[in-house]
């Protein structure tokens, strides 16, 4: 009795089946990868993204800036305090009246609470700290918070997602909603779920952020990419997280 109830609840939540797959057909793009790449992602000793996690762990407890404080001085043990945090970002920052993604939040802590030099987008330290914090949510379902400000942000993100852009005149939705699973040249088009960021991409030979990926897709259709940290990119991130709600986090993922 009890067991079957639990099964039913899990099925409803879309949590049954292989991790990263929902009952409605949404799935992590890791599932479409070659067995070799999947094995690389799953083995922490082989996953190159784990180097960023290790760098981030060291930075977490390093004192920095005029305040002479480390992240750990305020937040304690990240394996406890940062669990689930990445799964609910972007979050609404009531003080600023805007949505903030995880990397943006870390950059704000850096300047405002540590009184330290800013961490520029895609700088190794910002990526390392973001990867370390997001890693604490690995395996947890994406759980976008319900917040009126965020709802507006997500609606804006959805509009950006469905608007055709660039010289090739395609929208994100054209590829990731309508054509996912088909082949663009030789490349299978993924559903485009942001489950594994920051992640290690073989094509980049580096760990990179979700915003870097989004800018790549924009350049791919010959559109002008929004600058890093632009509200449009955060809005797209917020929409993508809602679109992926319930899928399990994988940071640091590995992608081709």
């Amino acid at each position: 009795m009890r067991a079957s109830l639990v099964v039913a609840v899990l099925a409803l939540a879309g949590l049954l089946g292989p991790p990263g797959r929902a009952a409605d057909g949404r799935r992590s793009d890791a599932e479409a990868m070659s067995p070799a790449l999947r094995a690389m992602q799953q083995d922490d000793a082989a996953n190159p993204g784990m180097l960023s996690v290790l760098d981030g762990e060291a930075l977490w407890s390093a004192k920095a800036g005029g305040a002479g404080r480390s992240c750990a001085d305020c937040h304690g043990d990240a394996t406890v305090s940062m669990k689930g945090v990445a799964a609910r970002h972007p979050a609404w920052d009531a003080g600023r009246g805007s949505a903030v993604d995880l990397a943006g939040r870390i950059a704000l802590c850096r300047t405002e609470r540590q009184d330290a030099a800013p961490l520029p987008p895609e700088s190794p330290d910002r990526l390392a700290l973001t990867t370390y914090v997001a890693h604490q949510s690995r395996g947890m379902p994406i759980a976008p918070p319900d917040d009126s400000g965020l709802r507006e942000t997500r609606a804006r993100g959805r509009t950006l997602f469905t608007t055709r852009i660039g010289q090739l005149n395609l929208s994100c939705a054209t590829c990731h909603d309508d054509l996912a699973g088909r082949r663009l040249g030789g490349t299978p088009i993924p559903q485009g779920h942001p489950v594994g960021y920051p992640l290690y991409r073989l094509e980049w030979q580096a760990t990179g952020s979700l915003q870097r990926r989004l800018r790549n897709c924009m350049t791919g259709v010959r559109a002008e990419p929004y600058p890093f940290d632009a509200p449009e990119l955060v809005a797209l991130e917020a929409y993508l997280m809602e679109r992926a709600a319930g899928l399990a986090m994988e940071t640091p993922a590995v992608r081709p």
């Binding site: 852009i165 660039g166 010289q167 090739l168 005149n169 088909r182 350049t219 010959r222 559109a223 002008e224």
Partner: protein
Amino acid sequence: MRTASLAVGLAAALLGPLAIPSRAAPPPRIEGQALPGSPTGRPGDPARGRAIVVDRTRGLCLLCHSGPFPDQPFQGDLSPSLAGAGSRHSPGELRLRIVDGRVLNPDTIMPSYGRRDGLVRVGEAWRNRPILAPDEIEDVVAFLATLRD
């Protein structure tokens, strides 16, 4: 002639935006489903057209299409094969499809290779130019016309 008034409307909609050099004499006229007549006034070159079609940074065609190109790995499967395109369509139909397929299917995902208007947030490097120049489009048309089954 049944499509004459439609053709006039479409031609009007297309005139300004088409990337046709102003020196090219008569403006393009859509007749039925076709854009007959080379706007460059010279026939396209099929060999150059093939090179454009298989080039992933110029024609981009194989991102979406497959076709009779045994030397080309990694062809797309988002749209019909180009094999036999020259049997199914006249050169004028092929030209219209490439210059502006939106005329035939407003929702098509195939880019309008000859248009530079009606686009959003085009990247700096590509702004105000069509994907292919008129003479390149003529080369592609000439090549597609050779794909017969």
